[in-house]
Subunit: 333 residues, 2 copies
């Protein structure tokens, strides 16, 4: 059986509370006593029971990170950053996936209220009007990405501006028939809507007439969905001069299709992405994209979360992460 404070206390010849005092360091403990306790802890190989501590303190030291699909490079890189930064600050991270099933966000909220979790970083996708109901006793929540609602603190990249800048960059290379891949039909995800908006804004600035046949919808933002969508589009449309994919993952699917069709990038068509995932620079050709610091996203999310733990009532905060266009070979002229 594992040792408890009681066992340590008995061995050290002190009371359980003193052992606790040694561990927590709030209440002062005299030198000799501390030494005895520490030796006893070492001797018994004592490890505190976090369930008990969590019950007593009301805090578990665990935060949850909810992402649509850990398997995608973007989610994986975010997860990586969050886990690293959280670890530096002494938090553990519980990971949840919301991807396939919209009800998962609800489940998650419920779980989040179960006291095993001190806070939640949520990257919603499908559900914009999501399960984040404020008012009910939820732990602090920070949202990642483009979300229409103002119910919680949020960290994001300005998609409108970034998409606009990217479109302008493509236009500056002289290409005028600029297609976008990833716009959702009808009402799509918030990110799709915003990036499309930035694209249109840029077209206007460039003096290029809007041509809806250049808008290629793509339900899922994955390489295979992108490949299928682009393939189908190319079967019935002429090749555009540039292709702005709303994520790098889609761009990678697109590059694959273009290569298989013998279409040269960037000679026949320029291709750009969004997110700057690790593989973007190793794509063939290397991928021009919107880059931002995922580590910073993680840092800010955790900062907002911990601030919110202290002040549950303050106003909602929104942090915008800097981005920049990274031009690589896929768009060189």
């Amino acid at each position: 059986m594992r040792a408890t404070v009681k066992d340590v206390a008995r061995l050290a010849g002190v009371s359980p509370k003193t052992v606790s005092n040694v561990m927590n360091g709030i209440v002062p403990v005299s030198g000799p006593t501390r030494a005895k306790v520490e030796q006893a802890m070492a001797e018994l190989d004592y490890v505190p029971n976090l369930s008990a501590r969590g019950l007593r303190n009301g805090r578990s030291g665990v935060i949850a990170l909810a992402l649509p699909d850990l398997g995608t490079p973007y989610s994986a890189e975010i997860a990586h950053s969050v886990v690293e930064v959280a670890h530096e600050q002494g938090w553990s991270v519980q990971i949840e996936e919301t991807g396939s099933d919209p009800t998962r966000e609800y489940e998650l909220m419920s779980r989040a209220r179960s006291n095993l979790i001190d806070g939640l970083i949520l990257n919603p996708v499908v559900l914009d009007e999501s399960a984040v109901k404020v008012g009910v006793a939820l732990p602090p929540v920070v949202l990642l990405g483009e979300v229409s609602q103002k119910l919680a603190d949020r960290v994001w990249v300005d998609s409108v501006a970034a998409a606009r800048d990217m479109t302008l960059a493509l236009g500056r290379t002289g290409r005028r028939r600029i297609a976008v891949l990833g716009a959702a039909e009808g009402r799509g995800s918030a990110a799709a809507v915003l990036r499309t908006r930035g694209y249109h804004a840029a077209l206007k600035e460039l003096g290029i007439a809007r041509d809806d046949s250049l808008i290629i919808p793509c339900e899922k933002w994955s390489p295979d969905a992108a490949a299928k969508a682009l393939s189908a589009h190319l079967d019935s449309h002429p090749l555009p001069e540039a292709l702005f994919c709303f994520t790098d993952s889609m761009a990678i699917g697109a590059l694959s299709v273009l290569w298989k069709r013998g279409i040269r990038v960037p000679d026949d068509v320029a291709v750009a992405g969004f997110d700057d995932i690790a593989d973007a620079q190793f794509a063939v050709p290397s991928l021009t994209t919107v880059s931002f610091d995922k580590r910073q996203v993680a840092r800010e999310a955790l900062r907002l979360l911990t601030e919110r733990m202290v002040d549950r009532q303050g106003p909602q905060k929104v942090v915008a992460i800097d981005y920049r266009i990274v031009e690589r070979q896929s768009t060189s002229s």
Copy 2:
């Protein structure tokens, strides 16, 4: 304040224990009582406190998954599968990264003994003779991948056989100067050693003389490290006829370098990988690789883990996952 069993009990006019009985379903509860309790739970929006439950039951419902680096596609896909499968079985998953810092494995073990975690799935890398000390009161542990030691249950793909098969497949296309990328200098990771062994076995079968100038070491198994290693090698060596990269990630780095140098794949050199990450089929050209079912890895790992929770004393179990060579364009002849 959050509702507790006591509040529910009071509202339903029963005792706390009855509420508990309703939730757990072990002790029978009469129909009308159950209905009253359920209504009270709904009314109060009751969510059980998992810290308290964990303290009382000694089990938290959380397992930990420790991976070297969540940011790499391989780890991410494994994590994705484990999280999904675990979720299906009612587990939550806490993710830890061990990557950069070897001491993390120790930290992890200590944390694992803190009762917040019912089991641990560990994918060790650097540390083969790792921190997994049996004997001390650890929760059940399952190791993923190539590990030399026999201290815990394990799920793996037979790297020797797979590397051998892949090398044979490359040889069958008529290519004889087959290089490998990812061998570690001196004593490397277990996987590196085993894959190199399979490669050598295949060369012998093919009647190809061993040529150590075809063994390209690469410390980190990442695209950028692979790109650098391959670049350096090509500067001072002739182009091989085939390049077997010990992971897909390295292969993607390699493809990028080859493309930048104007070397055509597969015409000038065939390239193969290992792992069949999602991006392998969207690589340019699509990547021949060793494929295996990551979902099955997750399923088996969880099966071993849950079995081990029941029987702490049984013999160590090892599960080998089926693999197959998937030939794509990067090695077509």
